[in-house]
Amino acid sequence: MSTLTALARAQAVASGRAQPIATVRHLHVHDYPLVLVPLAMAGEANAPLAALVGADPDKPELLVVTQPRDRDERFRFADRLGQILVAYVDMFADATEDVPIDRGKDVRTRYADAPQLWVPNPAGVDFLRLFGRSTRFRTVDGEHPVPASVPLLGRWLTFFATSAEVPGSSLLVNAVQALGLHWATGQSGAEDAQLGVLLAWIQEGAAAARAVENGPVAGPATDPDFDNKVLAPLIERSAPELPDVLRELMLPTWERMWRVLDLLRRLPVGSRVGQRWDSDRDVYTAFAQHVADGGAPQPRRDGAVAAAARLQRLESAASRYAVQRAFDDPLVLAEYRLAGAAFAGTVTLAAPDRIDDSGKRPVLRPRIMVRTAESVRVEPGTSLTSPSRPSQKARVISLAPVPVTGETDVLLELSGGMGRKLVAEPGTVPAVGERVILTTLTEEFRRGGALPDPTETPWTHGGPPPPQDPQVPAVP
């Protein structure tokens, strides 16, 4: 918890309203998302009880398993959910666009749009992940055949759940996390996990939030009292009104999900959100292709090399996401300023035409002096970046305290982002009097370490994995 966010929580307590902790929206919100509110059966290993699903706020489709221990009924649920999900994701597998690669020497094609799935909370993501795990290895023939849509559902759910682990991905979004990224409430993080309460803090205030605390849960876990007093008797006598009861239980959450979408759409979008959605579309394109080519289901566990590669991707995605959010949003950047990893100041001197001719060829190396009142925790030699000129590097030459005022003069040497000539393009060098923010964060791409081919996995990591996992035998 950063002090800035903690202060926002304190302010929320005092004002009785959630406080913003972002000035722009940090995730892509789709024009046509698919919303899914799942409910699980208590005690069972991730057995579905019901779901409200759909892309039209006025027409949620209700899926119910009226006898949760009935295997056939459970697969009918998976079948229908599979049909809905596959029809939805396939909608985006038509229009394509060309993306230049290799500095414009070549192009590759990706889908112009991608699907976006919304669930209420992180537990909803876990539910989908496990439901994907329990369905993706099912076979359409053999001892326990299932409809073809079931393993397909499993693959897509696994795809979505896996992408949700990637920081900054917007393919599968959970509403609690999406709201928590933009607002701080006057309660603890544990209490924020309840979607109804969190949304009430933002839209109506503390009193309303307390009032909905004991309201219907957002799932996937049901309330034990509801299980014992309402659900159990209905299931026991196979009551025809069971679907309606479950619909009533989930409707408030369904309606809140669309309110969350509206709320987030009203925030101005961060300028780097589009870049991350581009990556999401790349990932979707690749997986849709894999499915269309009849590729194998995702393995139960990654091999050593695949796991290391995945960890590297997650790490680079996490740092990219952190930097992009800071560059997009002054309120996020403020956290780095508070921690001394960024500072704001005013340019007091500028030598925009300075040439360094000590090397083989003369190069343009302007210098600027920035005076700041903020704490500067960087060493000479450090490379800094300004969010307003992300392609330009500013190397710290020296730091000098200003007598009496307690300010600091930072002398910086600039390189890059000024055109190809020995004279800087107009506006590329900060002018005297300009206010700049400089940070140790950088958007520069860092290449990960090289990994061996899976067939060359060293013995220290278990040796080469066995060829493709045999299909898991179907179990009742």
Partner: protein, 348 residues
């Protein structure tokens, strides 16, 4: 123990179990919970009486699945359980849970006799004791097994699934703490019997359904860390007698008294509310209400990020500069002022 009965105000005392001990040790600084639990007060009813009802039930579906799983394991002379534990068929099975009368002492005596003889291999429904805050608490592990070379192992049967070798971490850690209390109780028992306490394995066996079927799988968990924590927390709890002695005469949590009187009585024992209490303590919503306006109610990370300052009001006054910080608060105040300045600048 007259004072404890007085505190409870008659009625049957709520007994501790492994779960309540785990909750107690999770927040050992909470005198309120320590006193109420020591006196055996029904906290759920207490919370209801003073107008903060909570829901701490367990779903029937979860219970019945748990029971079905256990029954399946123990069917046919524990056939499945033996195979998953790797215990031989020759190992005897003894169920000590046959008594229906309330004579816990008897069952405990039989447990002691059986353990000191070191003969039976699978001991079902044993009854152990543990000293908690100066009181003897009866504990009931799922099963104690003599594994190879006469070592004792605690077996916990849980109905949550282990999928591809992974289970929900919160459930696993709760099971580990629970099992650690049994290990501790067993070790103390052996010590009393003059046997080597280290005969009790620090590895416990967790038996859970594997993947999505009811097929069991056994996993060994090292609970040494939980044991160490438990010992430390239990030693801190031993002071509850002193807290109770320090209470003014006449203080009681008798549920037949008017709510206002009970609330006043609660005021005599200091709570230590943290948001984590909400999932483990029946009285938590009352304590949360009491703690409103404190930074602690927002969670420990928030409190720490705000420089450990107690109240929200004080935080905001220090941030805006309307309150002069004490010498110890100087550093926190400077950070808060800077944070407020940055927030205001970015939001303007």
């Amino acid at each position: 123990m007259g004072r404890l009965d007085e505190l409870r105000g008659g009625g049957k005392a709520k007994r501790h179990n492994a779960r309540t001990i785990a909750a107690l040790t999770g927040n050992p600084g909470c005198n309120r919970r320590a006193v109420l639990d020591a006196a055996g007060v029904d906290k759920l009813k207490l919370a209801e009486t003073i107008g903060f009802p909570g829901s701490f039930g367990q779903s029937r579906f979860a219970l019945s699945r748990g029971n079905a799983f256990e029954a399946m394991l123990k069917a046919d002379d524990c056939e499945l359980l033996r195979s998953v534990l790797g215990a031989s068929d020759a190992a005897a099975y003894r169920d000590l849970g046959a008594d229906t009368d309330d004579s816990l002492g008897d069952r405990h005596a039989r447990t002691v006799a059986l353990l000191s003889a070191a003969s039976a291999a699978l001991i079902d429904h044993p009854l152990l004791t543990l000293e908690v805050a100066g009181q003897t608490v009866y504990l009931e592990p799922d099963l104690v097994a003599y594994a190879h070379q006469g070592r004792l192992q605690v077996v916990e049967i849980k109905s949550f699934a282990i999928v591809d070798g992974q289970a929900e971490s919160a459930k696993v850690s709760a099971a580990a703490i629970q099992a650690a209390t049994y290990v501790l109780a067993l070790r103390q028992l052996l010590e009393r019997l003059g046997m080597d306490p280290l005969l009790v394995d620090h590895e416990i066996v967790l038996v859970c359904p594997e993947n999505f079927a009811m097929r069991p799988v056994a996993v060994r968990l090292d609970v040494r860390k939980q044991l160490a924590t438990l010992r430390r927390q239990l030693s801190r709890l031993s002071g509850v007698g002193e807290i109770i002695d320090a209470l003014p005469a006449g203080v009681t949590f008798d549920l037949n008294r008017p709510a206002s009187e009970i609330v006043a009585a609660l005021g005599h024992v200091a709570p230590r509310y943290a948001p984590e209490c909400l999932s483990t303590c029946e009285l938590s919503t009352f304590c949360r209400h009491e703690a409103s306006g404190t930074t602690g109610a927002l969670g420990r990370p928030v409190r720490e990020a705000l420089g450990g300052i107690e109240s929200v009001e004080e935080v905001l006054e220090l941030a805006s500069g309307t309150r002069t910080p004490t010498p110890e608060q100087e550093e926190a105040a400077a950070l808060l002022r800077q944070a407020l300045r940055l927030r205001s600048e970015a939001l303007s």
